[in-house]
């Protein structure tokens, strides 16, 4: 009786743990150990940080914690940073930059925009 319980417990554990090894093909892709793309400079993370910073700045200014001059200066700094990061990310994504070449004009100010843009970067009109 005792032997039976011990044996069955051991067998159940081995079966549960070992099952994927018997069926390696099924698990090779599905559980993907392949790492995400190298992101040595943490570009995507930096992009989110800068976006967050811009949102923050606006709110700090609205709640009266920032002087207008400081606000303008820092906003410009972060916008420049954001542009640089986005450029570097675009360089990583060849497919995307191809699509980006499709162009259409803004209905209001007629500036050329990429097809993916939702708003005009010059006048803010909806595209």
């Amino acid at each position: 009786m005792e032997i039976f319980i011990i044996l069955s417990l051991v067998v159940v554990v081995i079966l549960l743990v070992g099952y994927p090894l018997v069926n390696p093909l099924k698990y090779q892709e599905a559980h993907g150990t392949r790492p995400l793309a190298r992101d040595d400079n943490d570009l995507y993370g930096k992009r989110e940080i800068v976006f967050e910073a811009l949102r923050d700045l606006q709110f700090e200014f609205a709640t009266g914690k920032l002087a207008a001059s400081d606000y303008a200066q820092m906003k410009a700094t972060y916008e420049l940073q954001a542009a640089q990061i986005l450029q570097q990310i675009d360089a990583l994504q060849p497919n995307k930059s191809k699509n980006a070449q499709a162009v259409r004009a803004c209905p209001r100010c007629h500036t050329n925009m990429s097809a993916q843009d939702k708003f005009c970067t010059k006048c803010g009109a909806k595209l």
């Binding site: 150990t33 989110e48 002087a67």
Partner: protein, 666 residues
């Protein structure tokens, strides 16, 4: 099935737990190095299997406790047949072996939870994470198998068990260890991710956000552990206070301090890409201090009211801590070049700078408390005799530190991220400063002359005003920016930035608690008097009239109580009955105090002794404002829950980053 066989099955679950944990380490690492998905899948199954095995072990031990299988040594030592069911269940974490099993059980469940959380997601940190969790599981399984077995059988079945220590037979002690352990064990997860980030070299955006809610979860439960522990000490230990700088209390406080520092400094990494090394070190410290806390509580190295068992676990715990520390330090050294700061401080007058100061102060408090806590151990090694550092040391050192933290809490709220201009700072500073001065003057005129008390209350007023101003200004800004009405703007203010405003709610809770702590520690008054039936004692506005002594029997104790009538300013307001209980099974006496709580103060009565002539010795204590400590804790917990709510914007950003990285790798 015979008892011996059930014990065998219990031991088998532990042995299999150890074996599978070791297998998970090997399989997870192998899958990483050789890029073999099937081994990763197998390791994941292993994590679930360990959770099932630990659950089975807990179930067996609970069964033995509840059905009074006294042949189990653990059952005989921690349960008696007249013990209430609630405390029979809680005996699982009432002793060393049981609580170690409880520890590994929680960890195994957390391991499974991490996997479920990441179902269907590709996260290359997970193999390292489960390898470390399995390593820690293996350590605790080894303790249970080789040092401190919960399924050891006695040669003969005793007729009756010793029973749970009567001090632990209290609802507070049912819940306190559970929350404390959830906190201790919970910090394993963020630390495992930190370690995984170090190993994989992916130290940027992802790990700190993946673990944010885990760290908050663990921190919340450490806080709850402190709350229930303090509440238990207050009502059950019967000395009139809630905090005595006992080694085990300190062991719970120290990781809470470093954890609090961590929760603040991660914000700087998230917002500015700064303090990367510092955050890794803080989470490492918090995790290892949690392990140390478990060890201090469960080994009895430092004599304390909590240390109910002494055993030879010391060297093993130290070896585990040393191993983790070494590996961590080595990995950190390897990755130092990847941990360069992305930004510099824009200004010393910025929230970042105040956060840095806050971190240093929290760490200072943690180091001071740790030093005082392990000093007896060190003195025993060096001088050969235990020299205990008592409460005055901790109060003197930590009092000013905590006051500085309170002030900083106010200043920090007033300063914006990145840079504060002097004129804005002054403008923001003035209203709360004025409120704190008015508070001090009003209290002084009202008859409060204690300098420290005045400073502390004025500081509390300062901080509370800054927080209310923050809500006020934020709401106003929203009303302007989004044309919302007052109610909507308030709700949306918190809703759109749950972390920031949840954090402010936490600060309100802390300040309420500070008011309670200051009131009850600076302005406590007490008296002890022997009263014959019909005689009265007066303290402050209260007069207590002693009626008679009363003997009763409970299932497992003899209880003697003093019937009292309480008058306030000559008017009868209540009857109270402080008691003492004698537990014959454990040959131990406990004090059951009677407490009457109002917003102004607690009337705290202790039956200190009684005489054959029917007279009783009563200790009467008035603890001003102490109820605000508990209310503050409740507010604190609500605030923490708000910060833990999922943040849709953050979740979206994280998903975006992941998706793009997957796209690029394809």
């Amino acid at each position: 099935m015979a008892l011996a066989q059930i014990a065998e099955v219990g031991n088998l679950t532990l042995a299999l737990g150890l074996a599978v944990s070791v297998y998970v380490i090997v399989a997870a690492l192998f899958s990483q190095f050789k890029q073999r998905g099937e081994f990763f899948a197998s390791a994941k199954h292993g994590i679930y299997v360990v959770a099932a095995l630990a659950t089975l072990a807990v179930a067996i031990l609970e069964w033995a406790l509840i059905t009074h299988q006294f042949r189990f040594e653990y059952v005989a030592n921690h349960v008696s047949s007249d013990q209430p069911l609630l405390y029979t269940i809680s005996a699982l974490w009432g002793g060393q072996e049981g609580s170690l099993l409880f520890w590994v059980w929680l960890l195994s469940l957390f391991g499974a939870a991490v996997l479920i959380q990441h179902l269907g997601q590709r996260n290359h940190l997970i193999p390292w994470v489960i390898a470390f969790i399995a390593f820690t599981e293996a350590f605790f399984f080894s303790l249970l198998i080789f040092i401190s077995g919960p399924f050891v059988l006695l040669a003969q079945t005793p007729v009756e068990g010793i029973g749970l220590n009567p001090l632990l037979q209290d609802p507070g002690m049912f819940i306190h260890p559970v929350t404390q352990y959830l906190g201790y064990v919970g910090f394993t997860v963020p630390f495992a991710f930190a370690l995984a980030a170090l190993v994989s070299g992916d130290l940027g955006y992802d790990w700190i956000r993946t673990t944010r809610r885990w760290a908050l979860f663990a921190w919340l439960f450490l806080s709850l552990g402190l709350l229930f522990g303090m509440r238990w000490a207050y009502v059950e230990l019967g000395w009139g206070g809630y905090w005595g700088w006992d080694p085990v209390e300190n062991a719970a406080l120290i990781p809470w301090l470093t954890g609090t520092a961590y929760l603040h400094s991660v914000m700087i990494q998230e917002k500015r890409g700064m303090l990367k090394v510092w955050n890794l070190v803080l989470i490492m410290l918090t995790f290892l201090l949690s392990i140390l806390g478990t060890f201090i509580t469960r080994s009895g190295v430092i004599q304390s009211v909590h240390a109910f068992g002494v055993s030879s676990m010391g060297p093993l715990f130290l070896a585990y801590i040393a191993a983790v520390l070494l590996v961590f330090a080595y990995l950190l050294y390897l990755r130092l070049d990847k941990l360069q700061e992305e930004n510099r401080l824009d200004s010393l007058w910025s929230r970042e700078a105040t956060f840095l100061l806050n971190n240093l102060i929290f760490l200072g408090a943690a180091v001071a408390t740790l030093w005082g806590t392990i000093f007896p151990m060190i003195s025993e090694i060096v001088v050969g005799k235990q020299i205990t550092v008592a409460a005055p040391f901790f109060n003197q050192v930590n009092g000013p530190i905590f006051l500085a933290l309170v002030l900083l809490m106010g200043v920090c709220t007033l300063i914006g991220w990145r840079r504060a201009s002097p004129q804005h700072l002054v403008r923001n500073f003035l209203p709360p400063f004025a409120v704190s001065i008015v508070t001090a003057v009003v209290l002084f005129v009202g008859g409060l002359y204690d300098v420290y008390g005045l400073i502390a209350f004025a500081a509390s007023a300062f901080v509370l005003t800054t927080v209310f101003l923050e809500f006020f200004r934020g709401t106003r800004a929203r009303m302007r920016m989004y044309k919302e009405n007052v109610a909507v703007a308030h709700v949306q203010l918190v809703n759109k930035n749950r972390r920031r405003y949840g954090g402010y709610i936490v600060h309100i809770g802390v300040m309420l608690a500070v008011i309670g702590i200051v009131g009850s520690s600076f302005f406590q008054s007490s008296l002890q008097q022997n009263l014959a039936p019909g005689e009265e004692a007066t303290l402050g506005p209260y007069t207590i009239q002693f009626q008679k002594l009363l003997m009763t029997r409970e299932s497992n104790a003899q209880v003697i109580g003093a019937d009292l009538i309480v008058f306030e300013n000559g008017k009868q307001i209540d009857t109270m009955r402080p008691q003492k209980a004698y537990y014959p099974a454990a040959d131990q006496m406990t004090t059951e105090v009677a407490v009457r709580t109002t917003a102004r103060d607690d009337l705290y009565l202790i039956l200190a002794g009684w005489n054959d002539d029917g007279s009783a010795t009563l200790k009467v204590i008035i603890n001003p404002l102490v109820v605000w400590l508990w209310i503050g804790f409740i507010v604190f917990i609500i605030g923490t829950l708000v910060t833990m709510l999922p943040d849709p914007r953050e979740a979206k950003a994280r998903a975006r980053v992941r998706a793009e990285r997957v796209l690029v790798s394809a």
